[in-house]
């Protein structure tokens, strides 16, 4: 619903509530992220909410990042990552909530990359019964951020949507619904890259993973219906609240403070 793969919810649930060891939780999570992303992307793509061209272009950065992340994951202490990631999320939260009036950015001038690649688009805003046209700007910056989001994805076993959505919206001025849908579309590819690594490492437990795949296939169908019918401002506030909660949890975890849900 928010353009997230759900990894950020599944990992805390499995580790904190079910007491599953972290590598297995991450392995199961990344596989279910592929499922969430693919099933909801199927709906968004059909409804033409996804900017396929933009997604394909940003995937270059995101997949390169995911591979980098998988390789450097051996060297970096996890605690430092959790804290950094949490702080990044907190920043994204404040910006997202403060800028909630920016739903339909106007007078956006496309940059050279966006013009060259034909990235501008339009979508149908069901809550207002209008077709919204939009331009894409500062594309190189967003590509650069996508690379870093990919690294985080490879390291932590999440899809990276929590970074893609605010960046596309705030930096490239893409309407939040299109940003969510496009993020969802990209996550499948990044998560597939990371998932294959976990799979071959033997960190995918069949009994843990199978119910997640089945559940996610059903749950994502419900979320896509909700996004279509929710006003963009509410999407932003809900997304902001979710970000704030998770970032605090992650920082606490980084400082080794036990979190009980």
């Amino acid at each position: 619903m928010f353009g997230l793969g759900g990894g950020i919810l599944i990992i805390p649930f499995l580790t904190l509530v079910e007491g599953v060891p972290v590598p297995l939780a991450v392995g199961a999570s990344i596989v279910s992220v592929v499922a969430t992303s693919s099933s909801s992307a199927a709906t968004y793509v059909r409804d033409r909410l996804t900017n396929i061209r933009l997604g394909m272009f940003l995937e270059i950065g995101a997949v390169a990042g995911a591979i980098t992340g998988a390789f450097v994951s051996v060297f970096l202490p996890a605690a430092a990552l959790f804290i950094l990631f949490g702080m990044l999320l907190l920043y994204a939260t404040t910006v997202m909530i403060r800028s909630r009036r920016l739903d339909f950015p106007s007078k956006v001038l496309p940059d050279r990359t966006a013009t060259l690649l034909g990235l501008s688009g339009q979508y149908e805003e069901h809550t207002k019964n209008t077709v919204v046209k939009y331009e894409v700007t500062r594309t190189p910056v967003t590509l650069f951020v996508a690379y870093f989001a990919g690294i985080v994805s490879g390291l932590l076993g999440v899809g990276g949507g929590i970074i893609y959505v605010p960046t596309m919206n705030l930096v490239s001025k893409i309407p939040v619904k299109v940003a969510s849908a496009t993020s969802n579309f990209m996550i499948g590819v990044t998560a597939a890259a990371s998932a294959s690594v976990y799979l071959f490492r033997g960190d995918v437990d069949p009994i843990l993973t199978a119910p997640l795949i089945i559940g996610v296939a059903g749950g994502a169908i419900l979320g896509t219906r909700i996004l279509k019918l929710t006003p963009p401002t509410r999407v932003k506030i809900a997304f902001g609240l979710l970000l704030a909660t998770i970032s605090i949890l992650m920082i606490l975890k980084g400082f080794n403070i036990p979190v009980v849900l």
Partner: protein, 113 residues
Amino acid sequence: MLDLNRLISYSLRIGVLTSALLSLVGLTAWAATGYANLSRASGSGVSGTIASAASGNPAGLIYLAVAVLVATPVFRVALSTFYFARDGDKRYVLITVAVLSMLIFALVSGVSG
């Protein structure tokens, strides 16, 4: 010929549903064995996985489900490459080929690592 949106939408849906179905069959098979302990196979290879899934091995079935799922987005990228090539859209052929080759690199390095 279907347009790109429908093509991608269908292929993603079919991939996820196939995977969910295989998972369900795998879990049912596991229940039928009386919830036996399953080994966490690593790198048993594609042919090995298919063979064990075909023989009704619960873990084999679920690993096949996971493999189908992981292949779904990769297939989607490959599909787009063909679509853009047919349209003569060279820039996007280049972009999708770049993404595809990185994905294949990840799969191959995953196998050897």
